[in-house]
């Protein structure tokens, strides 16, 4: 038994023999000595085979879905038939270059051009061009080879996997995916999540350590790969698979059900999203709105901040897709551990106590202005709530509200129609702001608790630091008391209270949250149905009783005990 660790990127468990996708070793000559007629024949055969394979893929997925798969297959097919690309390849071969060289060169030329663009979505498409090129190169390497047919359950182990390769290799027998490289925001990873295949990326050395038909156990959430697990580990993982399977089937019944307690109190179960790519997945799980859309990811992996128009399009898409539910979009939460090269964030001794969240934005008005203007415009397309992070005092809220007013007047002066006013709210992450909720309420429409940060600042412990991680404790009585304080502060105001931290998905905590008057629980899309099922099983009376007991607890242990 050997245990490897990678980055868990699609949750779930799997146990099956390994199928290793061997690397095609692509070496080719740069010399101009090849017979162009022969090379051109090889090209035509390989090309028509690839076009045929891709048409079949496209047909298959456009009939059976999911939609993302059909779109990717179709885009690849169009790329394979691109006249400009084909004519570049043929002209390299006309100069006596080898077919492999010509395909690679023509594709790299396009891929590099696209990679140099500002638009992060387009930059990712360079991978699609390389994907199509690699298909051709494989077809040249082994002409007439049918795509390898795999029978029986298996876990795919590969150096890296292109989206189209995943589409070709996907079958209900594909139980897990383990990649030596891989990128958490690539199409391959998004597809794996859509197919609900447990996936682990960046597993160092996995290609050397796994032999064909080794048995592999995969824990998609924790990122643990076990090669040839022993009997007890096998039993452990099989139980988890069974439980998951059973649960998944059962949870389907909750997709289009409202989240209402047994005694009729409606709660919104919403999703936390890092990007618009995961919208469809969340909608498929019956999410009741978006409780947290993190915008700082829009700033990353590029050379300059996105324009107002680009941001407007993203926000609008999010707002429109969840309408009539609410979309809560959080303004840039940068600083702390989130670094962005071109913003020149200062190096700080104590980044978590430094210039982050709203503090940064209020000192960098041009960046903030662009975002607020995009949000005010996007608000016209549905129900938007603008949420600001890392607030510690009322002055920050007032300054934000003033800016909001100012940018609104600007837009009106430019002739923009702004009939809908978005709701405004703040994250509660800092103890100081938890204590003045009642004073803030008259300026705002909602509060949403970010539990990880709130616990970190309450307990003065970093959960990523293994020496003190156990002190970062959701069951510390002070955490519950703080939640009670917030809940009391919101009572008798017109604000609603939500939560978008990890705690919202904790089953034992959910009765407490309901009793404390939370109207919205925002969780990762994969946890929406489980949370909804739990709410349907609760009634407020017993939730209140549990809360009374829990409030008396004087240690983590006794608090946990009170929740049983």
């Amino acid at each position: 038994m050997q245990v490897l660790k990678g980055k868990g990127s699609s949750p779930g468990f799997a146990l099956a023999p390994a199928f290793i996708l061997k690397n095609t070793n692509l070496q080719f000559s740069h010399e101009q000595i090849f017979d162009d007629i022969h090379e051109s024949k090889r090209w035509k055969t390989a090309h028509s085979q690839v076009v045929q394979d891709l048409s079949e893929l496209q047909k298959k997925y456009s009939q059976k879905g999911p939609q993302e798969s059909a779109e990717i297959a179709e885009a690849h097919l169009m790329m394979a038939q691109d006249p400009e690309w084909i004519s570049n390849i043929e002209s390299f071969m006309g100069q006596k270059h080898q077919c492999e060289y010509s395909v690679n060169k023509a594709s790299e030329d396009f891929a590099k051009m696209i990679e140099s663009l500002d638009d992060p979505y387009l930059r990712q498409r360079a991978q699609d061009i390389r994907d199509v090129a690699r298909r051709i190169l494989r077809a040249l390497d082994e002409p007439n080879s049918q795509e390898e047919k795999i029978t029986g359950d298996h876990i795919l182990v590969a150096e890296d996997l292109l989206p189209s390769e995943l589409l070709s290799l996907y079958s209900p027998q594909l139980k897990g995916l383990v990649l030596q490289k891989g990128n958490p925001t690539s199409h391959t990873t998004i597809l794996a999540r859509t197919f609900e295949i447990p996936t682990i990326l960046t597993v160092n050395g996995v290609m050397e350590k796994v032999r064909a038909n080794d048995e592999i156990a995969v824990s998609g959430m924790s990122g643990i790969v076990t090669i040839n697990p022993d009997a007890s580990e096998k039993k452990n993982i099989q139980e988890k698979i069974q439980r998951d399977l059973f649960e998944k089937e059962e949870l389907k019944n909750y997709i289009s059900v409202k989240s209402v307690t047994r005694d009729g109190v409606a709660i919104e179960v919403a999703s936390n999203l890092n990007s618009a790519h995961d919208l469809n997945f969340a909608l498929g799980k019956g999410t009741e709105g978006i409780g947290l859309f993190r915008t700082e990811f829009l700033l990353m992996d590029r050379s300059a901040a996105p324009s107002e128009e680009e941001q407007y399009q993203v926000y609008r898409k999010v707002i429109e897709s969840v309408f009539p539910h609410k979309a809560i979009i959080r303004t840039f939460d940068i600083g702390g551990d989130k670094q962005v090269n071109y913003l020149n964030l200062p190096k700080e001794e104590n980044p978590f106590l430094g210039l982050r969240g709203i503090r940064y934005c209020l000192k960098n008005i041009p960046l903030f202005r662009t975002q607020i203007r995009a949000l005010l415009r996007a608000a016209q397309h549905g129900n938007l709530g603008i949420m600001i992070p890392m607030v510690t005092k009322v002055e920050e809220v007032l300054e934000f509200k003033n800016l909001l007013k100012k940018f609104k007047i600007e837009l009106l002066d430019e002739g923009k129609k702004l009939e809908k006013t978005p709701e405004t709210g703040i994250m509660i992450e800092v103890p100081s702001v938890a204590m003045i909720v009642d004073q803030l309420a008259s300026h705002l429409d909602f509060f949403s608790i970010g539990t990880n940060d709130l616990i970190q600042y309450l307990c003065a412990a970093d959960r990523m630091n293994s020496n003190v991680a156990d002190l970062h404790d959701a069951y510390h009585p002070a955490v519950l008391r703080t939640l009670k304080l917030i809940s009391d502060g919101v009572k008798n105001t017109s604000c609603w209270l939500g939560i978008c931290g990890e705690m919202a998905a904790k089953h034992d905590y959910q009765p407490l949250l309901l009793a404390l008057g939370f109207k919205e629980l925002s969780v990762s899309p994969g946890a929406v149905l489980r949370t909804r099922k739990q709410i349907l099983s609760l009634d407020m009376e017993s939730c209140r009783k549990t809360l009374q007991k829990a409030l008396l607890a004087d240690s983590s242990e006794s608090l946990k005990a009170a929740l049983f």
């Binding site: 179709e74 169009m78 691109d82 979505y121």
Partner: protein, 89 residues
């Protein structure tokens, strides 16, 4: 016959894979050459890779030149596409 017209890109996203694909697909039936120009770069309008490599974002003005016997119908098809903001239906 050569026709020329400038369009403002008002689709949700920039000229991404899906809208670029729709553009190419709509031109496929016509005997025309199509040139798309943005900020001095001219690209083949029948090539999805070339269109994406323009990096056109919402709000950009694209100058489109259509040459050939079917120029009329091809341009009409492009007009529809822009009018619908590249939505599929």
């Amino acid at each position: 016959m050569t026709l020329e017209k400038t369009f403002k890109l008002e689709s949700q996203d920039g000229l991404h894979a899906r809208p670029a694909g729709l553009f190419v697909k709509c031109l496929a039936p016509y005997q025309v050459t199509v040139e798309v120009e943005l900020r001095g770069q001219k690209k083949n309008g029948k090539s999805i890779m070339s269109l994406m490599s323009l990096g056109a974002s919402p709000g950009d003005d694209l100058k489109i030149t259509v040459t050939g016997n079917d120029a009329d119908s091809a341009l009409k098809c492009i007009e529809d596409l822009f009018a619908k903001r590249f939505s599929a239906e």
